[in-house]
Symmetry: C3
Amino acid sequence: MAIITIATDFGTADGYTGAVKGVIKSLAPNCEIVDITNELTTIPKAAIALYRYSACFPDGTVHLIIIDPTVGAGRRALAGSDSRYYYVGPDNGVFSMLTWNRRSVDWYNIQEDRLPPREISATFHGRDIFGPAAAMISIGHRPEEFGDKTNDPVMIEIPKARKSGDLIAGEIIDIDSFGNLITNIQGGMLSGNYKVMLEGEKVPLGRTFAHVPLGSPITYIGSLGFLEIGVNKGRADIYFKAIIGSKVRVES
Amino acid sequence: MAIITIATDFGTADGYTGAVKGVIKSLAPNCEIVDITNELTTIPKAAIALYRYSACFPDGTVHLIIIDPTVGAGRRALAGSDSRYYYVGPDNGVFSMLTWNRRSVDWYNIQEDRLPPREISATFHGRDIFGPAAAMISIGHRPEEFGDKTNDPVMIEIPKARKSGDLIAGEIIDIDSFGNLITNIQGGMLSGNYKVMLEGEKVPLGRTFAHVPLGSPITYIGSLGFLEIGVNKGRADIYFKAIIGSKVRVES
Amino acid sequence: MAIITIATDFGTADGYTGAVKGVIKSLAPNCEIVDITNELTTIPKAAIALYRYSACFPDGTVHLIIIDPTVGAGRRALAGSDSRYYYVGPDNGVFSMLTWNRRSVDWYNIQEDRLPPREISATFHGRDIFGPAAAMISIGHRPEEFGDKTNDPVMIEIPKARKSGDLIAGEIIDIDSFGNLITNIQGGMLSGNYKVMLEGEKVPLGRTFAHVPLGSPITYIGSLGFLEIGVNKGRADIYFKAIIGSKVRVES
């Protein structure tokens, strides 16, 4: 029974995601829908969330992600696959982080007329295109059946940290719901003794926020494998007045 | 494996919907629960959401919807069926939009003593009546087993647009989480050239919000088949200071 | 097909719960995940929510609950079982209410090296320890396989009402999303005529909030079996300026 994960920015009160699920279950009665979220906010943050959960799933999972502010404006609809998963969503950069796993994804440009016939609205491709494509993949169809291969999916630049000598110049790329600051500095870049500066302020090193006093800041390798900055039972975003893009510097 | 969709106004933090799901899985271990929302707000808005998602599901789906401010006050509990689906919920108007699909629903007044025995609380019929009824239907029982037929379910008036000559007088009946304004003017009422006025202000026509500059308003046939008014990457409710009931006029 | 319920404080936007679900489905492809919430707020409130939904589920259900502010600080990870269910979560008191059902739970201290091998992060035991433990239980492993028995799980004191003669001294232990006030006075403690005082103000008795005028307060036996105080279509927390810990006194 194939799994389809669903992440959207639809909220739930209007029933939009419900409509997508209904279409999926109509086309693929035996698939298993796993809810991820209906609270996606920005495309970069959605790209990071997808990176966080997608690789935890069993091989063959179809990851459907819909944050689509330019629906109807001619942006392409993508279906893709790599060595483990399938992906379906709008061509707006939401898949940009997948390559950080060094995974190579083959992308195909979904053509409406290759999907089961239905009237296509101009504003709800989740129900009319993405949901049906994900459902069809879950029952055995392949992304390449839906359209031509494309080699230039939209990629948003999620900046990578740069190492030069003993210095690493990175930045905050995500702030999670607890206020933890996720940097773009991968754990593997770090070795020996080092110190971490966030916007010029030194942050103590540790294994986790529980290792410092209440309300104190700490930096550690987070669950995504990147350097993170947190505050024990507090919010690091507020503590540091940090935002996406705040500069982080590591000195060895 | 029968599907039961669940929409409530319970939120999730208290575990109320969890309790309903537990009761359902105890009575109908093989049913498939599909989450719609726990964030229903008003009965009219819930009625529109149900209209939006219900018909996307496969035949035989049981739609369970619980927004029940008058629980315990003697309002009836309904189970119903039409040619495709089953419905379970309180008799307070939440099913009022179903007839817009020209579907005829047979309604039955659920009697507590026709359900599997359990103590019935005065305040949580989702767990004690609606959930059990939905579960029993999903395993093959029919709504008519639960009580007498009723021909006067509560219907709330969701106003219909009126056409007279070249004019259509409609209004805003829903505002979605993106701030898009959904009117009660069905696409089929429109033909040829027309112009749309929202509270006296002309709104340009288009296929979707992506077709106007950022921050500009547009009107289009939305995914529900009704005329909608949106703002490209903005909120039409704020742009127009529109509310449920704001008047929309179409002139051909 | 074993059921695993999931309740967390992760929100959904970051994809943390998605990651937990992915790990679970990888280890236990046939389990059925039932979402409870991602909006747990405090440990006492989570304990009450667990009490509210857990016993509604079929025997054999695995209840996974993750609210874990001290992750990484050496707090133990627990897996337990009673005559009906399995439980997995942090040893911080979140299971404290289970004993109110007079259920006796056997607890075991989960050792990381008894779980399927994976790298264990310091900050995301939901994905790395609790999720895997729940998955393994759902496919037939027993809590005692994961570690030694522990007889001193952390218990938070959720105060019990005290009866002395004709008086019961209780307090508010939960406020639900509707603003209803849940006391710690169990229905079975009440008999005959009695009056209820909340912080010195008398609250009329009834079966449910629907039995008093709009905006009026009422006290009734709630769906959890405890005395509750509500306001018909209003919020009792606001009406009474009540908080967790506000005193309730019953005089017979």
